[in-house]
Structures are given as C-alpha cells and as structure tokens.
Amino acid sequence: MGGALEPRDRRGLILPKWLPPALLLLPAALVFGGLFVWPQLGLFATSVASPPPIGFATYQRFLGDSFYVAVLVRTLSLGACVTLVCLICGFPLAFFLARLESRWVPFLIMIVSFPLWVSAVVRSFAWMVLLLRNGLVSIWLRDAGLAPAGFQLMYSFAGIVIALAQVLLPLMVITLYAVIKGIDRDLENAAMNLGASPGRAVCLVTLRLARGGIFAGSLLVFSLSISAFATPSLVGGATAQLMAVAIYEQTLEINDWPFAATISAILLAIALSVALVYGRLIDGRNVPVR
C-alpha cells in the first residue's frame, strides 16, 4: 500500500496508520481497563495471598470441598439450563419477528424487551405470586399431574431457571432477531424449492447461518445467568447456593474477602473457558454472518 493511501489530516500531515484505530478504541479501553481489568487484577491478587505473600490456600479450600464444587457445578448447570430455555423459546420468537413483515415489529420488539425494564425485585415478587405453593403455575403443574401434592416452584432450582430465563430471554431474542433479519429469506425459499420442508429448511439453512447470533446470544445469557445474584436469591431462597450468592455471603456476611476473591476468580476463569470451548463447538466452519 502506497503512502498516498495513508490517512492525512487537512494540513497534509501523515498520521501513523495505527493512530486512528487506537483513538477509536481508547474510550472503551479506558472504561474496560479502569472499571473491569484493574479491579479484577486486585481481586486476583487478594485471592492468591493466603497465606501471604503468595499462597493458594483459598483455592485448595474451594476445590477440595465437595460442597463448593457442587456450588460450582450447580451454577454452571443453571447457566446451561437458562441458556437452553432461552434458545428454545427465543429462536422461534426471533425467527417469527424477523420474518414478520409488519410496521408493528419495532413495537413488538419493545414488548419483548419489557422484562428488562422492570427491577429484579419487582419481577421476582411477581414470580413469587406465580410460583409459590398457592401460585398459579404451581397449581397448574399439580393439577396437570406433573408435580406431587405440596409441590411449589418457588425456592427451587427450576424456579430460578424460569425467572432468569424470563429476564434474559429478551437479550437472546434481540441478538437472534438482528442476525436472522440479515439472512436472505430466499435462502429458505431456495431450500424449500429444492425439496426441504419448511422445518428442515430452517434447520439446514437459517439455523446454520444464525450460528454467530446463537453463539453471541448464548454467551450473553450464560454469563449473565452464572453471575446473577438478585433474581436467584429472591426466587431461589436457600436453594440458591450459587457462585454469585456465595461471593456475596463471603464478602458481606462472613467477611472472608480472600475466599470471596477466590470464588470470583474461579467463576471468571470457568466462564471464560466455557465461552472458548462453546465458541469452538458452534463455529465448526468459519461462516461470516451477513
């Protein structure tokens, strides 16, 4: 590439090529670095300082204790369940919205995003009304014979999954909507024209091409579910033995900050590695999303 193509300012001064992108990245980098990376490093330092100066006793305590390993496993399965529920409910909804040719679509998307507008406390309150033993959902489940007498969804793992899926569903739907909207509808038509039933056409074409969106949406939902605190503790009560809740308890109730830092470091590490592995799995062939 010749020098003539390098960006110049009005006076003809040649700017170094790296400068414009660096300037564009600067605000985000400052916010991210100052508000996330730096505190996270501090947290990490706290977690590897027992016994001082460098020690991994808190890690040994966490990983050597089946109770905390169970908390970790429960948290990851919560993330997986919520992500799955959001995918199963979110994809058809996003697909419907993306294929709907109506001027009401922006309004419908606004309605979809409604759960995000309500505070976790108010939302969890509503779930209590539905999920308690005398709540509608619990009664329906018992009447339908799907649950034993005295069953309630409140204060249960399933209840946490439902409540979290509700609030995170909009993120999945909006992410998928944008991606599906960008997929040429004639690709589905072409598949059907070549003999694929509508369902198979969506599976063979749309679902494949929406991989990027499925990945982004799942990651968003997964990471927010495993780090969620308010909804799980309100809806889950004592059953909400999850990483975020454990961090809260260690920080605020038990005042063991090194251990809290350790739990949060482990959560972060596992979340990152899950994201990487998931990314590899879903991105079998590197298809650019158009």
């Binding site: 004639d186 038509n189 072409a190 059907m192 024209n193 070549l194 003999g195 694929a196 056409a201």
Partner: protein, 355 residues
C-alpha cells in the same frame, strides 16, 4: 396442448390491491416463456406463486396437469433461480448443487455422478470445493442454474437471472442459457423487465402491466402486432398516434390522426377511437415540403443520433410532436438537422390497437 405449467385466472390480492389479477397462461413442454413488464407489474409474484412461495387468493395453478395450488413449495416440482441466486453461503459449490438431490433421497453414488455432470455442464470444474463468496458473479449464476437443473424439475423458474451481471456477461450468459434450454428441452419461465432480453431468448412473451397480462405471443407477434398501446410502447420503439376512424371499406380503414395525418390501415376490427402504432424503421424519408395523400406527413429534422450501422432521426411535425425515424447509417448525411422532409410508410406497417 401439452402444458407443463398452466395458470387459470390466478390472482393475488393484498387487501383491495391486486398484485396479480386473473392471470391465465400455459407453458408447453420445452418452451421458454418470459414474463415481461415494468417493476411492480406482478411478474415476480406470478413466478413465486408457481414456485409456491406466495399463495394465490384466486384461481388455480397446474403442474403437468396436477393442481398444485395448495401444495407447499417443497412438494412442487419446480427449480428456481433467484435474482440474488440465494446460494447457501455455508455450503461449497458441490454441496449447493447436491442439496436438492439429498432432499430427494437420491443414492449417494448417483448424487456424486449427477453433480459431476452438472458441474461439467455449467463449466464449474475445479471450483467444486469453493464457497459461493469465493466465486465471481457469473460463476455464482451458473451454480444457481445448475442447482435448479440437477433435480430435473417440471419447470425452471428464473427470476431476473441476469440482472446482477455486467452488460457483456449478461449477453453471453443468456445465449448460453438459451442454448442449454433448447438442448435439454427445458420448460422454463423467466421474469425480466428488459424487453431486449425477453425478445432475444423467449419462445413467447407475456407482457404484464398492473397485475394483468396485456398480451402473450411470440416476440415477433408482440413486436409487430401489439394488441394494446402499453405493449406497443413497452416493446421496442414506436410512434403511437391517437386517431379516429373516419371511413371503412373492404380495402381498409381510414383514420384521422394528429398533425393532419390520414392513416390508411389494412382492414381491421377496430372501434371509433384507435391507437395507431408505427415502428420507426418502417418510415421512409424524402426531401421536400409537400405531403400529399394518406400515410405521409411533412416535418423538419431536429435531432440526429448516429449508431454506426443504424441511425435515428427526430422529425418535428406541424403540431409540435416528434416522429421517430430509424434507418441505415447514412441517414444523418442525407438529412441534416433543419432540413425539410416528407415521411411516408406502407399501410401494412401500421398496427391499430385499442386506444
């Protein structure tokens, strides 16, 4: 008639608006029919109804004699080539072509051989493992055609298949497609807004306007005998005059047009007010100022356009309207702008259509 495709008064209404209004059409085996018209005339909707992507609100569609009006697209035997080609971006050329065969449960070895044959036929050898985005526009178009052909559909449906190609490639590609269609005796319908394209390769042209078929005929018939003013104006260049029939006898019809022209046409079944169509190349010019008798008019040359083998002149008439004349390349030398001319034409060159 052995119709592979038959449309019987097919309509598509969106509320009160008719996108397609009682369209009837038959496509015979081995025939290539073009749906020609301006954008919004309903031609693409008609094609999509044949493929099954759009459900008609009235009428019936038959494929090989079977009513498929309510049959979903994947159970119809059509092969569509989309305007955007709609190649599956995540599949290779070979996989794209094999897609329809796989859906039909064709045995793996047969798929391999049929795909290989199609790749050869479409001159795509060596590109089998490429992804669509690694192909040129022309190659993509050939993959799209190959993907539709390989399943041997009752009818090939082409939606503006050449519109995404540059001018030179467009011409060679359409000739190639025509050759292929004739060699394989393919039944095909194709949608275009380009009348030259339709004239060049179609066996018959259905000219559409505002959801209706105005005329369906061979290219020559559509050109020489446009049945409506719209068809005359849309196909090729034409001088169109409003005229009033003033006399009839067994030998012909006389009609009075603008600028004092009297038209004499061969006998026809025309009402009082007609539109007279006169093709530019049917007009002869001579120097002079006096126009006597029917089928002549005097005027002044005011615009000259030279195209090499041919040339076009604009002749300004007494009432200010302009007559378009087309002739051999020496016209501009003979008639400079400003020269007075008399234009004349044979009665047989005139076509009357509904006003």
């Amino acid at each position: 008639m052995n119709a592979e495709v038959e449309l019987r008064t097919v309509s598509k209404a969106y509320g009160d608006a008719y996108a397609v209004d009682r369209v009837s059409l038959e496509v015979a085996r081995g025939e290539l029919v073009a749906l020609l018209g301006p954008s919004g005339c309903g031609k693409t909707t008609t094609l999509r109804m044949v493929a099954g992507f759009v459900e008609p609100t009235g009428g019936a569609i038959l494929l090989r004699g079977q009513d498929v009006t309510r049959v979903p697209p994947h159970r119809r035997d059509t092969g569509m080539v989309f305007q955007s080609y709609a190649l599956f971006p995540h599949l290779t050329v070979a996989e794209n072509i094999a897609f329809g065969l796989k859906r039909r449960g064709v045995a793996r070895t047969e798929i391999r051989s049929r795909v290989a044959t199609m790749i050869g036929l479409m001159r795509l050898s060596g590109l089998e493992q490429r992804l669509p985005r690694q192909l040129s526009g022309g190659q993509q178009q050939r993959v799209a055609v190959g993907r539709a052909l390989v399943i041997n559909p009752a009818v090939i449906l082409l939606d503006e298949p050449f519109s995404n190609l540059d001018a030179q490639l467009r011409e060679s590609t359409r000739e190639e497609l025509r050759r292929l269609q004739q060699e394989l005796r393919l039944t095909a319908m194709f949608v275009t807004h380009d009348q030259a394209e339709a004239m060049a390769i179609a066996d018959r042209i259905a000219v559409m306007n505002k959801g209706r078929i105005e005329q369906i005929d061979t290219p020559a018939a559509v050109y020489h005998h446009p049945r409506t003013r719209f068809v005359a104006g849309f196909i090729g260049r034409a001088n169109i005059f409003d005229a009033e029939v003033i006399a009839r006898d067994p030998a012909g019809v006389a009609a009075r047009g603008p600028a004092g022209i009297t038209f004499v046409l061969p006998q026809g079944d025309h009402p009082g007010r007609i539109a007279v169509v006169l093709r530019p190349e049917a007009i002869r010019l001579a120097a002079g100022t006096d126009a006597h008798g029917p089928n002549t008019v005097a005027g002044v040359v005011d615009v000259v356009a030279f195209y090499g083998a041919t040339a076009q002149l604009g002749v300004k008439l007494a009432d200010g309207s302009r007559l378009l004349v087309e002739g051999s390349g020496d016209l501009p030398q003979r008639f400079a702008p400003g020269s007075a001319v008399v234009a004349s034409w044979a009665a047989s060159a005139l076509v009357a259509s509904a006003a």
